[in-house]
Symmetry: C2
Subunit: 156 residues, 2 copies
């Protein structure tokens, strides 16, 4: 889907997620970022921290969702949306489902592990009790370039 | 599968996971417990902390895996096994895959959200680069009773 088709707000929030991804890169982490949005406001931000935390848990989505839950004092985020620069993996889709997030907006597709349509769409398979809408490809080139540029620099 | 078919060690480690589940119940949490085993030793334990932490993240598996990563100083748990009292959900299967855990042993099946064969087997669908073996039904009745007894008490 072309970026032009997305609403202005979706571009704005994906740009906020891209800022988080850039922060990840500046800390030597693979640049993936996410924000949680409620009532038109960013209520939590996160970037990938796998190297720093030394757990496979701390993907950008997990960091952002945890912060949103802390900020709201509730594990249910049913009136929230997530914007993330890369298509979520199985774990993150599971957490998005468990947290009851309403809409998922992602940037670049992830052909090897993306579970919002690339490998499989787990929202169709697993998400039994709710309807989460998924929109992919927002600023996809920019989100994807961040990651490929990061790995090019690592190889130098 | 009948409990008798499982190795003595598998029963022992599932009993350790059940102890964790009982701890969860004593803290008012749905009784689900997990342990991580490496070289025949329990290296990390965890129980469900959703209410306490107010995030949908803190399933027993997540708590146990995080502790194992901290104890080993590595996000890769490729020579580790997990024993968990309830069939893991989508999120936990994703984390098990991301952490490269070798074998998964679970107690009771979870017909509504279990992603190791009940709703779907995500180890077949998503786990592209590795082979995780899954064994279900170890002390299933005991694991299941813990949960049903907990909810019976809640209703009183």
């Amino acid at each position: 889907m072309d970026s032009q088709e997305f609403m202005q707000n979706d571009i704005k929030f994906m740009k906020a997620a891209i800022k988080q991804a850039a922060l990840a890169a500046s800390h030597g982490e693979v640049p993936i970022g996410a924000v949680i949005v409620r009532d038109g406001q960013v209520i939590a931000r996160g970037y990938n921290k796998r190297q720093k935390t030394r757990t496979a848990l701390m993907h950008a989505e997990v960091v952002a969702i945890e912060r949103a839950c802390k900020n709201l004092g509730d594990w249910r985020l049913s009136d929230c949306d997530i914007y993330v620069t890369l298509e979520p993996c199985c774990m993150c889709v599971g957490l998005i489902i468990n947290s009851r997030i309403r809409n998922v907006y992602f940037g670049a597709p992830e052909p090897k592990s993306g579970c919002c349509g690339s490998v499989v769409n787990l929202f169709d398979t697993v998400n039994m009790n709710q309807t989460t809408r998924v929109f992919g490809g927002i600023l996809a080139d920019e989100c994807s370039s961040l990651i490929s540029d990061f790995f090019k620099k690592c190889r130098k």
